[in-house]
Amino acid sequence: MATITPALETHSQHDHDHAHGHGHHEQSFISKYVFSTDHKVIGIQFLITTMLMLMVGGALALAVRWQLAFPWESMPIIGRLFGLFQTEGGQISPEFYTMLFTMHASVMIFLVIIPVLAGAFGNFLIPLQIGADDMAFPVLNMLSYWFMWPAIFCFGISFVAGGATAGPGNGWTSYPVLSDIASAAPGSGAAQTWWLFGLTLVGVSSMMGSVNYMTTIINMRAPGMTLFRMPLTIWSMFITAILQAFALPVLTAAGFMLVFDRLHELLPTSIHSGFFIPSGLVVNNAAPTVGGGQPLLWQHLFWFYSHPAVYIMLLPAMGMVSDMLACMSRKPVFGYKPMVYSMAAIAGLGFIVWGHHMFTSGMNPALGMTFMTSTMMIALPSAIKVFNWIGTIWDGNIQFNAVFLNCAAFVALFIVGGLSGIFMAAVPVDIYFHDTYFIVAHFHYVLFGATLFGVFASVQFWFPKMFGRMMSDRVQKVHFVLTFIGMNGTFFPMHLLGIAGMPRRYADPYLHGYLEHLLPMNQFMTISAIVMGFAQFLLLGNFFYSIFCGKKCGRNPWNANGLEWSAPSPPGHGNFDVPPVCFRGPYEYSSPEADAMRQDFILQTSPPPAGVVRPAVAHH
């Protein structure tokens, strides 16, 4: 990194593919593709793993939707497939239903959204976009991927550990004492302990990634890559890594406390702590509990992590979408610094809003008022970002490809998720909406509507850099339309269900007279969900087909500016054939300087006109 050799030629025009600039020795298949320390391979490993987990989580969601549309009817396909349902006539039992929504959330949050953003794209993009040859700690990076598998294993075991129909059934929030006392529910036995182990291991994996990202971004930027020349993707990954590093230890500690409370389920001896168990509870006719614990403690600790985690599940997508919108609109990001500051504000405020999950919990009402105000204020940076995204598209030379459409959908749907959040930030209104389908609508608009659409766009946008080939834009457009319609058909009516007072996590809401007439609407939503679910095969099909048979492309198929586009597609081990030097900001689309070059972009590595300035050196 010490030598500064300005790359005097841009590589976009003439594509010379001498990928291995640094002369590496030949690697075996195992060390190249399995236990690889190359950030690109690890990123792709994360991406493929999370895409498969997306299908698992989606299948669980469809089973939930099946029960809500056709309560107590035999499940198609799956009902007959496994022996386990035959005793129940192919029906979903109520305890199985609690397992379904618990594992749907756990898989989607811990095995899809968090690892696909930080794990897949964080890994793949950070070194490439800052001009480094790899992560600061490649072995740690490899471990962060391979710790996902024990986590997946533990989650997998938790499905069957307590018996075939007694998977963990306490919701992804796992509130004690339901999750703390084995007699409380069929899924509160060994299944819950395994679930907690899985959660802890996901945390280990995230923490290793987070340390790596922070170090890499601080220390390994290419010469000239100052902080305010970093693409917003990198800013978002940086801020996310900080969030992870500060919030995660709290969840890990809380998880261990819960494990200690309940370890006797697994081991003959027990620690018999009672962090979350007050005395005198008679749960399911078991002996009264002894202890002086406080169940609200878990809620505080859990949400102290899990609220920042909501932003961990969103900020990287915000960063990546900003990059893609600028490229597809052929315009600089509108308000680059406000975008950075608003992400920082979201992250900072994100630490003082966790109590808004607890407005009905019986905590001190004075706390409720404080948390309400801070929660309202976090809408502000989100609003600023939305205005800036619209400003970015405004009067741009828009490329209407699937990347752009998915990004525009990100903005459109994030607006819905943001606005519905205001109802729930207002405590009196939240008292009615808490734990109804309104909240389910809200977080699906944020996590599916925003984050996943951002991911769909990112997969297609950076696919050429991963594999040197393009994905089919036509298939992606069909996928976009089906997913967009299915998504809105599934989740928009949930707002109305929430207003109608339909509680979440009900195996059979129609038992209650005032909800009976909502069955047809739920059936419509389930059909939309099935369309949306099956549309994902288009994404998977397109992805895997294009790895081998996609159209080949050069270094910079999108005519984008970032350093990653000056590397070969795909980059070899060590990434850059010419060590990159950064001369300018990441979003100089359609600048007068580019006009002079008869193009509408300028790579960050492209030096200023002869004899002007030397790059500002970022290293000390």
Binding site: P186, M372, N397, V411, A412, P428, V429, R505
Partner: protein, 266 residues
């Protein structure tokens, strides 16, 4: 085809708005008008936020669609607008939403205090709880004091018990004590807009003033195990005299041993 996409992004918010507009007529809205005093205030705040949100939704979605439309109708030779942003715009769209958000929070505070802060409860409600509602997997156990005595936190001999049916007086502020015998539950009465978690180890007072005599669904809103969905109960609001009569009847039933005896039949 480009214009199609702009229209696509204009079209779906219209469908969403249409759906919300026809929702009340199709019974996809609140289960009934609020039937408690606090409910009116909660609904009022809801509609205030709904108006602000609807205006923002229409404005931002229209602007997004228009930005797409501008892009779609741009001539092939036209250049994109080279701009890194506008300081003035940033200030406007920071300050205006900030004021609106602070305004929304301020409007909520009084109602929140009335709902949750015990010193703000109406005096009549604070005097004595009408009943203790003890949640349990998967039912609601109701405990009343024997007529003429006061309800204590510890059960006393002579207390009256019933399951899944709470009788409370209508048209007067009423307080109940909420607790749970096992895991966490939540006391949710949709038509009254009342919701409060029942937390293991805590006794939480909840108050409401029901405006009309009648029956109100009571259900659980916090995951409490496999039977969470079937914690079905009802609140029966009636005149104070009817409540008294109900309690006397309950007392009689509870003390009745089935043997005709002169003292007990009196």
């Amino acid at each position: 085809m480009k214009k199609f996409w702009a229209i696509f992004f204009w079209f779906w918010p219209l469908v969403a708005l249409w759906l919300c507009a026809v929702a009340p007529a199709n019974n996809w809205w609140f289960p009934s008008p609020p039937l408690s005093t606090l409910g009116h205030q909660i609904d009022g705040l809801f509609y205030l936020i709904l108006i602000i949100v609807a205006v923002t939704f229409i404005g931002t979605q229209f602007a997004l669609g228009y930005a797409l439309w501008k892009g779609a109708t741009k001539g092939s030779g036209d250049k994109a607008w080279f701009s890194h942003g506008s300081h003035k715009l940033e200030i406007i769209w920071t300050i205006v939403p900030a004021f609106i958000l602070v305004f929304i929070s301020l409007t909520q505070l009084d109602v929140l205090a009335e709902i949750r802060v015990i010193s703000h409860f109406p005096k009549e409600a604070r005097k004595a709880p009408a009943a203790e509602v003890m949640a349990r997997q998967f039912e609601w156990r109701i405990r009343y004091a024997r007529p003429g005595t006061e309800l204590m936190n510890e059960p006393r001999p002579g207390d009256l018990y019933y399951v899944n049916e709470v009788h409370v007086p209508a048209v007067q502020p009423t307080m109940i004590n909420l607790r749970t015998q096992d895991v966490q539950h939540a006391f949710f009465v949709p038509r009254l807009r009342v919701k409060q978690d029942a937390v293991p180890g805590l006794i939480i007072p909840v108050w409401f003033e029901i405006e009309q005599a009648g029956e109100y669904e009571l259900l659980c809103a916090e995951l409490c195990g496999w039977g969470h969905y079937k914690m079905k109960a009802r609140i029966i609001a009636e005149t104070p005299e009817q409540v008294q009569a109900y309690l006397s009847r309950l007392e009689q039933e509870q003390n009745e041993d089935g043997v005709a005896d002169e003292q007990s039949s009196q």
